[in-house]
């Protein structure tokens, strides 16, 4: 160790700053390309005159998306499914998590285990029988069907996350409320839920973005535009014969914005929630 501590620190700091610059570029370049392409005319996108920076930026691709594609329909479908599955999974998860965190009954530990286990079973093991089941129930190509299907992931995950938060609410508060004449139901609504508000925000974020970002179920269970969400809708744009990257990039920019904004606003809680549960790889 010939270097002094301050020299070492300075070296580490320098290396860190250099690496940070590389990481920022690595992260930013794909986003830049996405936005830049969305602002170009076809002439600048393809062929010999292709540019790296849009010379004559235009919003033409965005108008094309709205005018010539069913993007608005996909957007509407995504919102309906995301809101629906979020609300349903929140209600189911709040009740379930409270039961596991606070109530004493036989089989409680087993149910907690079952929840984690089911949360970890990936959808790619389930989509084939799910497809058969949804077909049999005539729930394919329907927003209801998709909303219900997403509960299979959202409920175990939200219950699991909320369970941890509910446990951190001091039992004494609730006991006091019970003495004051609350019962378990009113105690949950009036004491536990308000105190676990940050957790509810995080859980809302996760189930909303999960539904917004989910691809496999959405792709497998829908066959017409009437029920396609954004993810499967955009993937379908691509499999059309003519690639139209300008409008496609315009629609990816718009589709990425809602989860990104939510993430930036709620970041602090999201990161905290993630370390409690572990989310997705």
């Amino acid at each position: 160790m010939t270097l002094s501590m301050t020299a070492q620190r300075r070296t580490v700091k320098g290396i860190g700053n250099f690496l940070l610059l590389l990481m920022l570029l690595w992260t930013a370049i794909p986003f830049y390309w996405m936005v830049a392409t969305s602002l170009k005319r076809d002439k600048e996108i393809y062929g010999f005159e292709a540019t790296l920076v849009p010379q004559e930026p235009t919003l033409g691709n965005y108008t094309t998306v709205f005018r010539d594609t069913p993007y608005l329909l996909f957007l509407r479908n995504s919102i309906i499914v995301a809101v629906g599955s979020t609300v349903l999974s929140m209600i189911i998860a709040c009740l379930g998590a409270y039961a596991i965190a606070r109530l004493n009954f036989p089989g409680r530990a087993l149910l907690a285990r079952g929840l984690v286990f089911t949360y970890l079973v990936p959808t790619s093991l389930l989509f084939i029988p799910m497809f058969a089941m949804m077909s049999a129930l005539r729930l394919t190509d329907s927003l209801h069907g998709l909303t219900i299907a997403y509960l299979g992931f959202d409920v175990p995950f939200c219950t699991w996350l909320l369970m941890g938060y509910f446990k951190s609410v001091p039992v004494e508060l609730e006991e006091a409320a019970l003495v004051d004449g609350c019962n378990r139901v009113t105690a949950l609504i009036r004491i536990v839920l308000p105190l676990a508000l940050p957790a509810l925000v995080v859980v809302t974020f996760f189930s909303f973005t999960h539904a917004w970002n989910e691809f496999l179920y959405a792709h497998v269970f829908t066959s017409t535009n009437s029920a396609r969400t954004i993810t499967t809708g955009l993937a379908n744009f691509m499999s059309a014969d003519v690639f139209f990257w300008g409008p496609l990039m315009a629609s990816t920019v718009m589709s990425a914005l809602p989860p990104v904004i939510m993430f930036l606003v709620l970041q602090r809680w999201v990161v905290q929630g993630l370390t409690l549960g572990g989310v997705k790889g």
Partner: protein
Amino acid sequence: MATYSTTGVSIPSSQPVGWRMSRLQRFLLRDSTLGYLFLFPALFVILGLVAYPFVNAIIMTFQAKTAGAPGRFIGLANYAELLGNPVFWRVIFNTLIYTAFGVGLKFFFGLGMALVLNQERRWNNMFRSFLLIPWAIPTVISALNWRWIYDDASGLINNVLVRLELVDETISWLSDPHLAMLAVIVVVVWQGTPFFTMSFLAGLQAIPKELYEAAEIDGASVMQQFFYITIPRLQPIFITAIMLSAILTSASVQFVYILTNGGPADRTQIFPTMAYNLALGGAQRLGMGATVSLFFFPILVIFIIFLTRRMLREKGE
């Protein structure tokens, strides 16, 4: 607690004044009754949307089944066909490479990113927010975006390479048998690194500063501090993050599906895309598709059980 007294109760079915409660109400409000009642919807979801389909998947592997028609029992024929299919062996190999390199690189870069972001500097919060964004956007969108970056004719990479006169002919990143898997893994890493960064960053911030101060007084170098304090302290997080990521990476469909759809010549085919193509790509052989998925389940289940234990223990269950 005055605000929470009986006067504020708004649930009509429960007038919770102890001595006036009917027997039915008292039964309903008992811990065990209420516990099952509260958990019933969650249980219903788990049984209906996870357990039932899962059992169904196992049954399907013994059937010749197409969508909409009842399955016909064919014993182990699906398994036999699969094991005799050279593509399947290719898929096993591909899935291992894809998962090992995908998770390994995400781990490595995620740790680097977390260490860099854990240093003190101006605007660090802003940098952190920005570096985590790839995790928040839909994976399909990352995949589509990268497909365009890799484009043979006008993609960003070829565009730059040609401009700098580094290549004579553009490179077909996604259809060259030697490059395709690498190209897919790059996208997986780009999208998945922030998950590791977030996990590790939280772990780093939980390490008491005093440990480093004490080590410094004892004359430990920066490298020694890293290997004797940071790494051991992060180890539990390493294991959880790696296992979780291994499950989800090996099972993710969308990167391969959008970038290459398994091509060229099955060079990037992994088990979820093979299952998808068998079950829903044309021939609709649901039984065969389920067999492919289930073949990987024994490996996944070891990870899942291990991780379930860990996660429950971390939460003191």
